[in-house]
Amino acid sequence: MNISVPHTARLLGAGLRALLVLTLVTGVLYPLLITGLAQGLFPGRANGSKTEANGRVVGSALIGQSYNLPLKEGQQTPEPDLKWFQGRPQNGLGANSVNTQYDLILSGATNRSADNAELVQWVRDAKAAVIRDNSVGGYTVKPSDVPADAVTSSGSGLDPDISPAYADLQVHRIAERNGLPVGHVHHLVDEHTEGRTLGFLGEPRVNVLELNIALERLVTEH
């Protein structure tokens, strides 16, 4: 094998030139072409599927958000605003982070194992809270009624959806807090329940942001 220094340098030069030329193709021309096509064909989606309500952007249809009460004096974690439908629990992402000059959306999961004591406690607490918050008037939530997605956090921490079962479970609470007939709220959930794509892809789901936008409209009309 020829491993003389000039020969190796010449080879490495070829490697670098190949990398630079391919960077031009795949790292400059290709992404610019795709961006042009995306912005031309699907500008709304390419920019994050922003959703509006009352003439104001209220987030993305794809990204989950929290529906909390304002923080009170001395409070560390805000309480949920129970007049709105609540999404999935958003437990910690871990304290380690690389670059903190921006407080961006940080996506990620708890990464706790099924036998992790902390996770067991989070699930227990979440289940107790779901039962407590949603047992209103004559309606009592049984522990076996609570679906798994209501007490576990998602992979991204930004799950925009809940299961139809979790939405149904919140109906009585929502009706009471907003002074609406239970039947109207049930109807609202049914309207916003999306089945499996083509009947078999994914799972049935309810987009919490869209549901709350519709709820707000229902409250103002009522």
Binding site: L19, R45, A53, K72, N116, S154, L201
Partner: protein, 559 residues
């Protein structure tokens, strides 16, 4: 419809789509790596690089091409990250620290795409698009080039020549990856994946008022263009920390199935191309059948364990939804977890650390097989062909005759190259895991304790040495120890096997083919598929059983 049935139908739809697509793509791949002509754009590239694409290379020259190109890739990506703080288009992010920049550069050049950083908090537009995304293309093309060289070793005789590395590299990018990725990226944008170059900006929220935030801070990015090649090239490095669980990377059940399709497309098409290039499509299908059987079996096992959701937290919750998204559910997440660890992808649409104990074990075992069912782009095919060489050798020992495969004798020299190639990754995984467990500090990175804590470390080295890139992400891998040792595992786990694969290819290409006789093992028959699958499972099983018993098996059996 029950979630189990829906999951199975998704699996069937995926199989049907792959069965349709592998025919034209397999034919195309065989043409690409056999073609004697150059396209105009390719000629411009060769002129820019200053190489002769028609010069035949023997294996040492081919290997030198692979190595210098990869060294250049590591250097360039390392510098780009170190300079991020002064580059424009970096969203105000600082330069990456040396140990993390080394780890990330190696990670993307080796097609691993292990990430010890949070994408949305660390990497700006320039590093993502002109650095990381570029390696998504070229590292995949390098994998395919090495596979093509090995296939030529079987197909050619009385020559040491294996083709031209630069031509294979450039064709893989220009004729295969860029056109497919461009179409896929547009489909992904249509599904809701973002594609823009906006900076960090505030977007209003539904609830507004004091203390509720009132807005979310978003960063834009060329996500769809990178996502397409991330899956297609079995790379798997997420634009965002949550990878394919992030709604901007994978917004709907349809995009989930489409991303699954993309990651399996080339690995399941290459066996047909191999068959065509060695002059017997049935030989290719015997390899494909082995890959598909193992993959389908693993998916079935994963669905079973995830739907039964054993484990304290999951039993209290009433379902294995921790770390999974509602829109994908357990079915879609299970198919994804198996496919990403049986290929070298490592993208995740759900977080493996929160799977059932046995489910986590299945993801690890998938990588431990060597990622050959169907494996990474290129690396899956050459990995499985190495196992085929080992399998015919074992069969030869049983009947007491010199083994041969595709008319080439598997003698002492060939079997030594094959054995060295398959011993490297287990050695890296087990030695480095043992070292991390024996030393006092690495253990501080674990989030979970007990068997699962050990699994986090075992998973990390398994993932790095096999160039997968997924993680039991509770492990805080951004420490000097993990950045350095995982970086070394990725480098050695990628390039040492390539050395032996190319050496084997060179040795095979020099041989004079032996004619098939009545005593020749028929390697295109189902019997051989069974033998090969058995060899794959037994070799990995024997190697890793003690380690698996301490981690996922202990956790799974305790629950």
């Amino acid at each position: 419809m029950s979630p189990v049935l829906a999951g199975l139908l998704q699996l069937l739809a995926l199989i049907a789509a792959l069965a349709l697509a592998h025919l034209p793509l397999g034919n195309h791949l065989a043409r690409v790596y056999s073609s004697g002509t150059h396209r105009r754009v390719e000629r411009w590239i060769y002129r820019g690089v200053g190489v002769d694409p028609d010069a035949e290379m023997r294996w040492p020259a081919y290997l030198r091409g692979v190595l210098v190109f990869s060294v250049a890739g590591v250097l360039f990506l390392y510098l780009l990250q170190r300079l991020q703080g002064v580059l424009p288009g970096s969203l105000g992010f600082a330069s990456i620290d040396p140990d993390q920049a080394f780890n990330t550069a190696v990670s993307f050049v080796t097609n691993t795409n292990w990430q010890s950083y949070y994408g949305e908090q660390a990497m700006g537009h320039v590093v993502q698009t002109a650095g990381l995304a570029v390696q998504n293309f070229v590292s995949a093309a390098v994998g395919m080039a090495v596979a093509a060289a090995l296939v030529r070793g079987f197909a050619r005789s009385r020559t040491g020549e294996l083709g031209n590395f630069w031509a294979d590299l450039v064709r893989g990018v220009v004729r295969v990856l860029v056109p497919l990725a461009a179409v896929a990226a547009v489909v992904l944008v249509a599904g809701g994946v973002i594609q823009n170059f906006s900076g960090i900006h505030e977007v209003g929220q539904f609830v507004h008022g004091h203390g509720t935030g009132g807005s979310q801070e978003w960063n834009g990015g060329a996500v769809a263009s990178q996502e397409a090649v991330k899956m297609l090239g079995t790379n798997g490095g997420g634009y965002f920390n949550a990878n394919s669980a992030h709604p901007f990377e994978n917004p709907t059940p349809f995009t989930n199935l489409f991303e699954l399709f993309l990651m399996l497309l080339i690995p399941f098409s290459l066996p047909r191309a191999f068959g065509l290039m060695v002059g017997s499509v049935r030989q290719g299908y015997a390899i494909l059948a082995t890959m598909a059987t193992i993959w389908a079996g693993f998916v079935a096992l994963m669905m079973w364990t995830e739907f039964t959701h054993r484990g304290p937290a999951l039993e209290i919750a009433g379902g294995a939804m921790e770390g999974k998204e509602v829109r994908f559910g357990i079915g879609g997440s299970s198919i994804f977890a198996v496919s990403t660890t049986l290929t070298s992808t490592g993208a995740v649409d759900s977080f493996h650390s929160s799977f059932t104990g046995l489910g986590g074990g299945i993801t690890m075992l998938g990588m431990m097989l060597g990622e050959i069912a169907p494996g990474g782009v290129g690396s899956g095919l050459y990995g499985m062909l190495i196992m085929a060489v080992v399998a015919v050798f074992i069969a030869g020992l049983m009947v007491g005759r010199t083994p041969e495969y595709l008319g080439k004798k598997i003698g002492g020299r060939e079997i030594k190259f094959a054995a060295c190639s398959i011993l490297i990754t287990p050695a890296l995984v087990l030695v480095l895991t043992a070292a991390a467990m024996a030393l006092p500090t690495p253990g501080h990175s674990m989030t979970n304790s007990g068997a699962h804590g050990f699994s986090e470390v075992l998973y990390a080295y398994t993932s790095a040495a096999n160039n997968n890139g997924s993680a039991f992400a509770g492990l805080d891998a951004d420490t000097q120890w993990f950045n350095t040792t995982l970086g070394l595992a990725m480098l050695l786990g990628r390039f040492l096997p390539m050395v032996f694969v190319l050496a084997l290819a060179g040795s095979l290409a020099r041989q004079i083919p032996v004619p098939a006789t009545a005593g020749t093992l028929r390697t295109e028959k189902p019997l051989f598929t069974g033998l090969l699958a058995g060899a794959v499972l037994i070799i990995a099983g024997l190697t890793y059983f003690p380690a698996l018993a301490l981690g996922p098996l202990a956790e799974g059996l305790a629950s």
